[in-house]
Structure formats: structure tokens, C-alpha cells
């Protein structure tokens, strides 16, 4: 686990990003929504989704420079299956950890609170099955 200072600072940065976006343009900083809409060619009012995505990806430079090995739980097919489920589920369920978990709950949305409790509980059950039952 990262140091407590990193967790709090990181959380504050994420919250500031969501706050800045909703204050400046009234939009939700939901990554699955941004990706889903861009896939359909919907860049949003004044194209906001493109600069948001560019900004989101800039810190990847730091990760690339760090070159810390990222270990995955499983091989290529496992990753592909997980990606398929995450893409399908977030589209059907109207959001992911950022849109429902951070923005939705911060907006006191009951739908987002319910969605977050469901995906977190199911994810915990999945980890339990994968790590402790197999």
C-alpha cells in the first residue's frame, strides 16, 4: 500500500479534477462515459472530452519513465475477458469507479451509491473466489 500521504494527496487530486470539471463546464469526470461517448464520435459540448482524456493520459509518462513492472493476475485471455466485462458492464450500468464511485456519490446520487456498492461487493466476491477458492 502507498504511504498515507500519497493516498490522501492522490484522493485530493482526483477530487479536485472532478470539482474543476463540474464547476467549469458542469460535466461528470467519468472515464467510462468519456470513452463510450468518444467511441460514438460524441466529443461533447465544446469538445471537452478530448482535452480531458489527453490530460488524464499525460501522467502515463511518469509511469513509463518509472518502468515499474505491473504484475497482472492471469494471462492475456484473462485480461481480455476482464476488459470485455468491464467495458460491457460500465456501459450498461452507466458508469465506473470515477463516474459513480467518485462523482456520483459526491453528487449524492442514489443510483451511483447503489451501483458503487454493487460493483464493489461483486469485485470483492470475485477476488475471494479467484484467490481463496481456486
Amino acid at each position: 500500500m502507498a504511504a498515507i500521504a500519497n493516498l490522501v494527496a492522490g484522493g485530493a487530486l482526483i477530487g479536485s479534477g472532478a470539482a474543476l470539471l463540474v464547476l467549469s463546464s458542469g460535466r461528470i469526470a467519468g472515464v467510462s462515459g468519456v470513452v463510450g461517448n468518444l467511441l460514438e464520435g460524441d466529443v461533447g459540448p465544446q469538445c471537452w472530452r478530448i482535452p480531458f482524456l489527453v490530460g488524464l493520459l499525460i501522467p502515463a509518462i511518469y509511469l513509463a519513465a518509472l518502468a515499474a513492472p505491473v504484475t497482472h493476475a492471469g494471462g492475456v485471455w484473462w485480461l481480455a475477458a476482464a476488459g470485455l466485462l468491464v467495458g460491457f458492464g460500465t456501459r450498461l450500468g452507466s458508469g465506473c469507479t470515477s463516474g459513480h464511485g467518485v462523482c456520483g456519490i459526491a453528487n449524492f446520487s442514489r443510483r451511483s451509491l447503489v451501483a458503487t456498492l454493487v460493483f464493489m461487493t461483486v469485485a470483492m466476491l470475485t477476488v475471494f473466489v479467484v484467490r481463496h477458492l481456486s
Binding site: 474543476l20 470513452v35 482535452p51 489527453v54 459513480h100 461483486v122
Partner: protein, 152 residues
């Protein structure tokens, strides 16, 4: 379509803050996420601390915009999406949860990891895009009631 340099700059900065937060907090490392989800193992509360802090910081901004009914540039905004919980929301969240639990990667960290050159994350993101397109395709052709995914 109109372009406002201020809107574009703010969206870029918002994305930069958001992505930096994911990296600084260690949430782009799947092992940190899995450590939070593994309640029966060596459980780590990291993700809850990150999420709780982010919610606390963002909540006042949402309250301001919700009350004003507009962003600070006076663009009208409807944040009071109080649609009922429906089956699409529940099923979607559950399906997402399975995938998230399998690898400990959700869309934001997945995109950042893929952009950093991580081959595994590139596979994940490719499949994520396919899954998202498949859900959109089915929603258009099957009578699935759904909330507006554009504004959770």
C-alpha cells in the same frame, strides 16, 4: 460547434489532476486495488482512503453546481439525475464488478497503464472498448431499459 479556450483548458487541467491523483495514490497499480478488494487476505484500506478523500473534496463543487443549476460559466446543468435504480444499472454494475475483481483494473487506471506502454493493459483496454461497443449495440437493438449513461 463553438470552442471556448477556457473550457478546453479547464477540461485538460481536470483530466491532468484526475490522472495525477490516480498515479500518486498508487491506484494505477492493480496489486493495490486487489489488496483492497481481498477482504479475506491481507486487506489494505488504501482505495477507500483515496475514494473518501476524493468524494469529500468534490462534494462541495457538486453542491454548488446543483444549487445554481448551472456551471460557473452559467452553462445550464442538470445534476439532479434522480432516476430510479433499474435492472440495467444493477446488472451493469455487477458485470463490471466481476471484471474489476478479476484483474484489479478499472477504466481510468487501465487507460493510463496502456498509455504508459503496458502490454497487458493494452489488451485490457482493447477488450474494454469492444465490450462497451457491444453493450451499446445491444441496447439499441434489444428492449433494455437503461438510465442515461452520459450522466450517472
Amino acid at each position: 460547434m463553438t470552442f471556448s479556450p477556457r473550457v478546453l483548458t479547464n477540461a485538460l487541467l481536470a483530466g491532468l489532476l484526475f490522472g495525477s491523483g490516480l498515479v500518486v495514490s498508487g491506484m494505477t497499480d492493480p496489486q493495490n486495488v486487489l489488496a483492497f478488494l481481498d477482504v479475506a487476505g491481507d486487506w489494505q484500506p488504501g482505495l477507500a482512503i483515496v475514494m473518501g478523500t476524493a468524494i469529500a473534496v468534490a462534494a462541495p463543487a457538486f453542491a454548488i453546481v446543483r444549487r445554481r443549476g448551472a456551471a460557473l460559466n452559467d452553462a445550464p446543468v442538470t445534476l439532479a439525475n434522480r432516476a430510479p435504480v433499474d435492472r440495467a444499472l444493477l446488472a451493469g454494475a455487477a458485470i463490471f464488478g466481476i471484471g474489476w475483481g478479476m484483474v484489479g483494473i478499472c477504466p481510468g487506471p487501465g487507460l493510463i497503464l496502456a498509455a504508459s506502454g503496458n502490454a497487458g493493459a493494452m489488451v485490457f483496454v482493447g477488450a474494454l472498448i469492444a465490450g462497451s461497443a457491444l453493450a451499446a449495440f445491444l441496447q439499441q437493438r434489444l428492449p433494455i431499459t437503461t438510465g442515461d449513461y452520459k450522466s450517472p
